[in-house]
Subunit: 416 residues, 2 copies
């Protein structure tokens, strides 16, 4: 079965607010075997809400409306869904009594507007709201050849989550054919998306029983595998077979099967090897250190480092000879190697990392374009330098440079 999730409220159409309830709902729906096929956001305008509701009811098995259940004139969800279904609303005496009691217990008089919250769509089941005044509604209705489920839920996240978890999930389990879902996530660093797709598409296309999604962002590609089957064993076996084939093709380009970040994977390898690191970074300006120390427990292997933005500090903090900078330039293979060696010595670390490059937008020369970065690793075995030219703006160059340094370190650790 598939679902459409509709968030209602004009504030969700401003630059400042965003629906996030749908992420929670998607996770819970997937878990009971329901896929989300559409998400929409619509304002508090009658004709728009009716039009969205009609489309959704026509195309999805399950339609979830969020918000617009309050007491004000702007709260139109009840009447618009009734209109889209072609049925009437009736005022529910029990809800009226409950609302009056709630106000009375707070020694407040109830504005007449609040009676709107007692309007129930004919045929709907009322979902009491443990956290607020807006009750939800659950509707099961045969439309044409298919049985539809509609839910009207309140917008505030704590009200919605409590209601969905306690009242909707159990009902969904009885309505949705029991299904199990198995997932796998493979992460790959620094490969162009088209290159990755060319490698993996011939493989995952043979596995039509597994749904594969490729996601590329921030110097990383994620391959999300997902399969549904009648039993957990069968679903697990399907994603495992595909994951194994993808791993055989991609080899050590895959830095994890799971949800770990690259910095976490590198941290685990450092701990397994009993290694310590220190970092001397120029163009990344602290980003590499910051990523390494995002990982809780990183003090076990990260000693620290230097952000050597000025040439003077490359010498003072990382011991790079001033003559070397003068003869090769600060952005050079030689200075990258000297940064890695120098910070390793200075900090007494097993491994030193050096980064120097041109993040832009200024600082480029004809020989040294924006995006040119030298990455270096020094350890007891020697010093390696990797030269890359990254496209994109300052933020992207810095991110990719930090990504490249981490991945270079990962490979070095894997083969040591």
């Amino acid at each position: 079965m598939d679902a459409e999730i509709i968030a209602i409220g004009s504030e969700l159409l401003t630059p400042y607010r965003q629906d996030t309830n749908s992420l929670y709902l998607t996770e819970r729906l997937n878990h009971v075997g329901v896929e989300v096929r559409f998400k929409d956001v619509v304002g508090d305008r009658r004709e728009d809400l009716v039009s969205i509701a009609k489309n959704a009811i026509a195309r999805a098995d399950i339609v979830i409306f969020m918000g617009g259940l309050g007491p004000t004139e702007d709260d139109l969800t009840r009447e618009c869904v009734a209109h889209a279904l072609g049925v009437e609303l009736h005022r529910d005496a029990e809800i009226v009594a409950w609302l009056r009691a709630r106000f009375a217990s707070r020694h407040m008089s109830m504005p007449d507007n609040n009676l709107r919250q007692a309007d129930v769509i004919d045929g709907a089941l009322v979902l009491p709201n443990a956290k607020g005044t807006a009750p939800g509604q659950w509707i099961e209705k045969r439309i044409g050849a298919s049985q539809k489920i509609l839910m009207l839920l309140p917008g505030p996240p704590w009200e919605l989550k409590a209601m969905f978890e306690e009242q909707c999930v159990p009902r969904l389990r009885t309505s949705v054919p029991p299904q199990v879902i198995a997932t796998r996530l493979l992460k790959i660093a620094l490969m162009p998306e088209s290159q990755c797709d060319a490698l993996v598409a011939p493989i995952y296309k043979r596995h039509t029983e597994v749904e594969t999604t490729i996601l590329a962002a921030r110097g990383e590609i994620q391959l999300h595998l997902r399969s549904r089957a009648a039993t957990q064993d069968e679903a697990e076996a399907r994603v495992q077979v595909l994951a194994d084939e993808l791993l055989a093709e991609l080899g050590d380009f895959v830095f994890t099967v799971g949800n770990d970040t690259l910095e976490k994977v590198v941290g685990n390898l450092l701990q397994q090897r009993g290694a310590t690191i220190a970092v001397a970074e120029s163009c990344t300006g602290g980003l590499l250190s910051q990523r390494i120390t995002m990982v809780s427990g990183s003090s076990a292997y990260f000693l620290g480092g230097a952000v050597v933005y000025s040439n003077g500090l490359k010498t003072v903090l990382a011991g790079v000879p001033a003559e070397l900078i003068a003869s090769h330039g600060a952005v050079s293979r030689e200075v990258a190697a000297a940064l890695a060696q120098g910070i390793r010595d200075r900090c007494g670390a097993k491994i030193g990392i050096g980064i120097t490059g041109i993040a832009g937008p200024s600082g480029a020369t004809p020989e040294k374009p924006v995006g040119l970065v030298f990455h270096s690793i020094a350890d007891a075995r020697g010093t390696d330098v990797l030269e890359r030219t990254f496209p994109g703006d300052r933020e992207r160059v810095r991110l990719w440079a930090s990504q490249q340094a981490l991945d270079m370190l990962r490979r070095r650790l894997m083969h040591s």
Copy 2:
């Protein structure tokens, strides 16, 4: 005129990813006088994308499609929009040549898949992509009685923003009836949202002709003011009067009236004062340096710094006496001051900043809880230390500590 924004990609229907481009687009559309009326998310499924496209073209004046312009089989936006419009695609020779040249310049061979990116909807104008391989498309078409504008934009935010800003906004301005909107943005660091609201609500509620939105995130509160009027002068006057009243109430808690980041504001002050800084950070692990160097041109005032995670490095890189650490502990007022003084001396900077604290989740003692951070600034006038205990997890503590150090520096520079 009104707009519908459609985000395309199955990953946006998972619990893991969310469209955020629409927030940026909404801000820019509002600015030229266009309101957003619907937002939708749809996966990479042909029939769904065609259905959404048809609905949107029928009901909105402007339809923006984001994503699905890549080279893979999943990238269906071009063909589905063509189908919804009832027109054909043609392969554009210029784009093919451009794609081939782009790959050749990187010494890579182009997979055949990439040719799909040269498919153009009949009647569309090609929008070159300065930041990636997927060109956008701009379509103006009379449908029934109304003139519609359609845009196909790439999904990655940096590509979308560059293309929309440079190529779409100017075109929109010629098509949309001129309207005037005046806006002001006030940013406040480190104040609790409820405290801010208690101060400002009595003021902005008197100004019903200005729409005020309060937003709190990442150690910062934003007050967005917006007013429309018949003339620019009138709209500007309305927001200016309210902004002035808010500034009078909030004083130097407001770090900018505009869209600058706190690190940019601090950078401007450093440049105006002709000052240089160096940083020695422990619990923030490079985050402060990284934020300062996010600002293009920061090399004019940022010399560099040390990430002194281990106690040994606090001595080696920032010259903190080992006895001081032994007697007061690494997380102490004394060590924070010594970090600021030491890194200032070592780097020859006018201002030194030191941060030491417990980001958690481990490392706390009964006297020193998770979230305890000491921030210090040293300059020719002396050394100040500020102690704070931040609530929240590791990421939040680190962020707030970097925020506090920047705001402390801002106040010091303003009063120097």
